[in-house]
Symmetry: C4
Subunit: 268 residues, 4 copies
């Protein structure tokens, strides 16, 4: 019982960033590397030549990954009761298991067990499950400061981002509708409806411009030219707002420009 | 008579942002939702499959919308005399009705009544009227802080925006004319005139690059390359000016970056 | 003689921004409008339908424009001796006539006289001359604050712009050369030489992406993907530098942020 | 012996920026011009018409360049012992020769000697060697402040650039994988595997949009539209960070924007 408690305590400390020590560090790096290898496997498995030659390797690697991730998940849940926030053998663990990061951990292994349990309906479903393994990437959120940076920036600039995005959507709706009306009689296929005209609108306003759909009438080209020129102004707004928030935040590790010129105190 | 005045006063308060109370709030949200649903209807109605299956639904929804918007319009005009600025039963109401937002409200319902009154000339006209319903979106201007933000930014940066835009137009005119002269003998179709060469110019300078028109002669490609490299510099200017104005303004409602939190002095 | 001097003095004052008064203002606006109309004429004349229908109108309008511009040019040169900087009936006027703005004025009318004098070699040369009329746009430089803004910004940021542009050229040369080496064996037409590969390089690095030339080999696509991702970073630099200079300058009409927070003096 | 030492000393001073004097300056400019001419030669040699007409010129120019670069390299290494950091006739010179800039110098001439020594395997190898001459451009690093500017900016913003780039890679992996799953059944050629779908992902997220690969299913176009709109936000981040670092640095050598011209206090 003492052993059991010691083991649980050790497992608990292993997964706590401040308590894990050197071994905890190694475990973190191992799991991150395994996640990266999993993503690489999902990507490479779609290359036919590799899928044929290394099919069994991919299969055993998936087995190995699921075993490791399952041990990680069970250890986390089992040892969570050592955290004063999650006391109580069942209620505490359930509370712990319903946190977003733990749900991601569960989703990263659940599909495998569903397939093993015989829940697969057809091949298409199986292929989707393979892809879902990509969402193991989300497990990285636990270790990533990037996600935190982004969520801070998006939180700070939320109001302006919503404003910029809704202006974009408005411009997209108006531009695509007008273009549908102009081009539909001449290109009934490409501009068969306003939703289909959105495809042209997005390609133009983001300046991607695949070229599969574009106005061919003089009036359509005139409107399209104006839309394109407005587009680079409005569709750059969210990017600029995001970038300005990101760059302001970047200032945090650059002490110059951080202090009030009047009283000398550190700002923000 | 007392009843009549009370009712008119209630209608007046309903549409005044500060006086409407909770009911006024519900009315605002209802009208905004109805506008959004109208835009969705206009968009979806152009999908043939939906137009066939749900034609009558779209028809009745349009009827319902026009009735609501008509009631809203009439109530606003009728109750406007309770505003000291628009006194006088006829002159006051006419003055009120000629304000831009009210004209938008009228335009949002007028086409329907024109059609009902038998003014439609042909099918093409009818289709245009359907599309005009999209401009009901402009009714949102009343509720939107985004429009105000934009108009403030554009007002502030007007001079620089005009400068940047006129430089863009100048570059567009020069680039398209030179390209017309170079490419016309080899692509008499795509570069049949300078106005048609504008289509290439806009696609290149905005970096949309559909690919339907592009220089094929070595000299044309050389000039096109220089134009493209200048283009990303000059055509990004309006976007950057707009974004900088927008980001500066963003600071206005975010006091933390405007005043030193320690000494309270305004920063920069 | 007194009359002659008075007339010359009047002509001189007419073209001096500070001395011209209301009539000088009208003359300025008239010449600016005439330049705009000339540009419109050059553009519209290339539309075959218009050239046929309104050919004689375009012809007479050109005659009229040349007459006006010639009177303007002669008046400026003739009256220049009233400026103390250009004394001396011949040396002063020659010195005045060799200033850049006056040379532009001369070039705006010279081609016409060359044609009249029978110097045209062939039709191709004639067409080029028509286009050269577009450079009458440069006459606007005299009235334009935009040109001044740009030259100030470019002067201020010269060093960084040169740096950014040379990095771009370096990346373009390296990317195109490597892509030539990779793709030449598989697309001997599109990548027939490094200079031709530049066309792909510019289209990719500016993100125009016409799509007429793109790598088709896996290695070429891998290199192309890296080049495209580097490109948006490096090729946005000149635009950002230009925009930041332009926006800083924009601060001039916005007094806040213009004063030193330490001593309160106006900054630059 | 005195002569030998004087000569070595002169050679040493010639290549030291602070000691070279006017002659050293001429040598620097000559080597820079030769590097530029070499790059031009490599580029022009790939144009068949020029390669045929001027083949022997290109050949002798290459010989001449290698001779000059060899003399430069040998002089640098030979005279390096005059630098107190690299004392000792053999160990000092070896230490000097293993510095990055000297290795670049060696790589700029080595391929020529390998070919002369008969190491060439086949024509393909020979062509690669020709191209490698382009890396003589790297010799410019010695003279270039641009490289230093970039390395300073990249060093300063390293953490944020890594963050932005890894977010981009993440978005690219997720977008391409999802698109592969959606489009593969309908375009088995263009979306044959996730690595191939990356080509679409990069073209879309960088907004290059060649148009050779794009979704054709409604769901694929819907996802593609969202990816494109997210892409301009995220893929502009590295460019914005780089530009902001570059623009901040620009201020460093432009004191007017760094210090108040009136009281001399540092601004911001």
């Amino acid at each position: 019982m003492g052993n059991y408690r010691t083991l649980r305590r050790q497992a608990f400390e292993l997964f706590e960033p401040e308590l894990g020590g050197r071994v905890g560090n190694y475990v973190d790096w191992f799991i991150m590397a395994l996640i990266a290898a999993n993503v690489a496997a999902v990507i490479l498995e779609t290359v036919d030549a590799l899928a044929v030659s290394y099919g069994s390797f991919f299969h055993y690697f998936e087995l190995f990954s699921v075993v490791v991730f399952t041990i990680e998940y069970v250890s986390r849940v089992w040892s969570s009761v050592d955290n004063p926030d999650f006391e109580g053998p069942i209620t505490g663990r359930l509370k712990f298991a319903s946190r977003p990061l733990l749900i991601v951990d569960l989703l990263a292994i659940l599909p495998f067990y569903l397939v093993v349990a015989g829940f697969q309906a057809d091949l298409r479903f199986l292929r989707a499950l393979r892809l879902i393994r990509l969402f193991r990437l989300l497990k990285l959120a636990r270790y990533s400061r990037a996600m935190q940076s982004f969520s801070v920036v998006i939180e700070e600039k939320k109001e302006k981002l919503v404003l910029a995005f809704s202006s974009n959507i408005l411009l997209l709706v108006l531009a695509s509708s007008v273009m549908y009306y102009i081009e539909n009689p001449y290109q009934p296929e490409a501009f068969s409806s306003i939703p289909r005209a959105f495809w042209w609108g997005v390609a133009t306003l983001t300046t991607v411009g695949y070229g599969d759909v574009h106005p061919i009438t003089p009036l359509g080209q005139f409107v399209g030219a104006i839309v394109a020129m407005l587009g680079i102004g409005l569709f750059a707004l969210p990017a600029s707002i995001l970038a300005s928030g990101f760059i302001e935040q970047a200032g945090d590790d650059d002490p110059s420009g951080q202090y009030c010129p009047h009283c000398g105190e550190k700002l923000e």
